[in-house]
Symmetry: C2
Subunit: 403 residues, 2 copies
């Protein structure tokens, strides 16, 4: 027992130090990102003419990656591939590039998220310590986990979801415990760091959770199948737009230019900025008032198109938007509370698209409280089952089949 306790102590101390470094830096990066993202969003909403320059923003994003960022352009998938098959240290450039291009995307009115940005900043920051401390391949894998966990945890203010996301995302259908404690420490420290910078997170509320009955269970299963199918639609559409853009436009910086022009025209004629940017106000509203039935369709189109043509950001907040407004729209049909279905959709469409059902369930519990936990788990697990083996992270390998 003594030697086990001794080596556990050394292990704990070592990862406490590394997680504090990674968590402190990644949490600070997330805080800076959240503050600047708020600024560009506010600027865009009060100077809407800037959306006319979305093609220019697209050119900047495209050119940055085309000329200087070929080795960091694969983003989240690159982190996943390095974990699966370590080859070379993630260039630090990944962090400032994704930060800058995400801000450009949001400033000029693309529709995107933020988890990709935070996770890539966290992963790129973490991996720099591999060289500094001469870490082995297996320690480096753990380090990559801490970076992604720290980024995810701090950008959403959900430390346990960050912990599990970084353990779940690499292999579909498996959760390995090798990095369990480092992942938790980095997530907690990153989240605390981000909060120390005074950066808060959006609050959502599910005020009433009905008792489960057989009828409600059957409704929940049916609706959750819908969430899963929409996850697949989202992932497939992103791949589709990306393939089309590559097929028709060979010079890559031109793709977001053309794509940006199309989005700008669509925004101009629709007269609304509801479907660009993060969409947080619409997500919040979906918890207490009816959304339009087509909200989830338009957000799916705008985000998959934005990302498919080469803008940067992430998929997760738009997935929350799609799920929450879809759940909201289904609530009257199912005769179930609006906020409960919005919350279920919020996490379930994300669970299906990212293939991380446990992280998604726990995220729901962290954001909405534990009263709805069974509903959240049912929604996430069933959406995971019905989203098939494709997802937003193409580099995931299948560890266990879903059925």
């Amino acid at each position: 027992m003594d030697t086990v306790a001794g080596s556990s102590l050394i292990y704990l101390f070592r990862w406490l130090v590394l997680s504090a470094l990674v968590g402190g830096l990644a949490g600070s990066a997330s805080a800076f990102f959240l503050v600047t993202l708020d600024m560009v969003t506010l600027y865009r909403e009060s100077h809407r003419w800037i959306i006319a320059f979305l093609p220019l923003g697209g050119f900047l994003v495209g050119a940055i990656y085309h000329y200087w960022g070929q080795d960091v352009v694969k983003g989240n998938n690159q982190l996943i591939e390095e974990w699966q098959n370590p080859r070379k240290i993630i260039p630090f450039r990944m962090a400032p590039f994704v930060l800058l291009t995400t801000l450009l995307t949001h400033l000029f009115g693309g529709s995107a998220g933020r988890e990709g940005t935070a996770v890539q900043m966290g992963g790129a920051i973490a991996d720099q310590f591999t060289r500094l401390f001469h870490l082995s391949d297996s320690d480096r894998k753990t380090l990559l986990v801490t970076g992604m966990s720290a980024g995810f945890a701090s950008v959403f203010g959900t430390p346990l979801a960050g912990t599990l996301f970084a353990l779940e995302v690499f292999i579909l259908g498996r959760l390995r415990y090798e990095a369990l404690i480092p992942s938790l420490l980095a997530a907690v420290l990153a989240d605390q760091t981000c909060r120390l910078w005074g950066v808060g997170h959006t609050h959502y509320d599910i005020p009433f959770v009905p008792a489960l009955t057989v009828l409600i269970l059957l409704k929940v299963l049916l609706i959750s199948i819908g969430f899963g199918l929409v996850s697949t639609l989202f992932a497939e559409l992103t791949h589709f737009w990306s393939k089309q853009a590559k097929r028709w436009i060979t010079y890559s910086p031109l793709r977001p230019v053309v794509g940006g022009a199309i989005i700008a025209v669509a925004v101009y004629f629709s007269g609304t900025t509801r479907y660009i940017g993060l969409g947080v106000p619409t997500i919040v509203a979906s918890f207490h008032e009816p959304s339009a039935w087509y909200d989830w369709i338009l957000k799916t189109l705008s985000t998959t198109f934005t990302l498919g043509v080469g803008f940067k950001g992430g998929e997760v907040t738009p997935l929350f938007f799609v799920g929450a407004t879809l759940g909201n729209a289904l609530a009257p049909l199912a005769d179930l509370p609006l906020s409960l279905l919005a919350g279920m959709g919020f996490v379930a469409v994300f669970a299906g698209a990212s293939n991380t059902p446990l992280a998604s369930t726990v995220m729901g519990i962290e954001l909405f409280g534990s009263e709805a936990s069974v509903y959240l788990a049912l929604a996430c697990f069933i959406a995971y089952l019905f989203s098939g083996n494709s997802g937003i992270y193409g580099s995931q390998i299948v560890g266990s089949p879903k059925q």
Copy 2:
């Protein structure tokens, strides 16, 4: 997409039916068990002279397994081994035998728990459907998961913890998703069934959770190391008493007779029944008033001795007792809230002894609410790290090393 959705539908429907059967039966069995357990506990507490007959109760328990239960005596470990290496259907006898012997253990004043009983009833009930529906080996593994999940979920009223427990318990350091959805469905349905029978569960409360600081984090880590070491002590002591009993007494029904006599004498001279039975009143009290500093030591001794000499029941509720009273005793030293440390110890000593850190964390969230989730996760994960590779389930195989 269509064929994936189609086969997912068939899978879901199939496991909905099987999980409803397993959940309904295992949940009813848990309800019956909880009610009768309450009755025998009440009877013992109002007729304490019955403890003088603990040696007789010991003989009955020992004789039942010696003469008619050799093929079901390994209990939880037997379920784990059948899952790892399927050989023969679990005899249905396992269910009534463990029910009856657990009630005898509690009626005459042994110190034991209830999760072993519920999990074995669930597992044995579930496995009967293997023959009925001619299931394949891989479906049978899933079925065993549903039985254990259903038993655990319904006996504690914690469906998500039951879901994860049955996925986590077989292989140390891995969580496989093959049975994710069946496990959840069985857990939810068993829990609902148990509640439909009007059987409630104990409530615990952590009214105040302090904001995390670096100092508090370091205290929490130190205390959680203590929880982990106590888990190991509990598991090692159970093995120790069992080895001693087997070494000195070859006729197995005699072991609980001698052991029972020793416990009865100890209870008589100590003049308290605080350390026998489940100990739920002491656990509840540890959330709002100081426990004695030695409570956890005496409960560890009484339970490991009771189970080591051959009485039946489970380890989990006594582990809650040990952890909650230990946390409670450490609270003034650490200058942290009593109820928070009681709650952390409650789940963490269980996490360390059972090697199921995620199920334990989620159990804490289900019982105490999500506000303390980071504290609960830190306690459970660190206790898991420091409990080494031994645990109360000797048949677990190591999938991933802890460090």
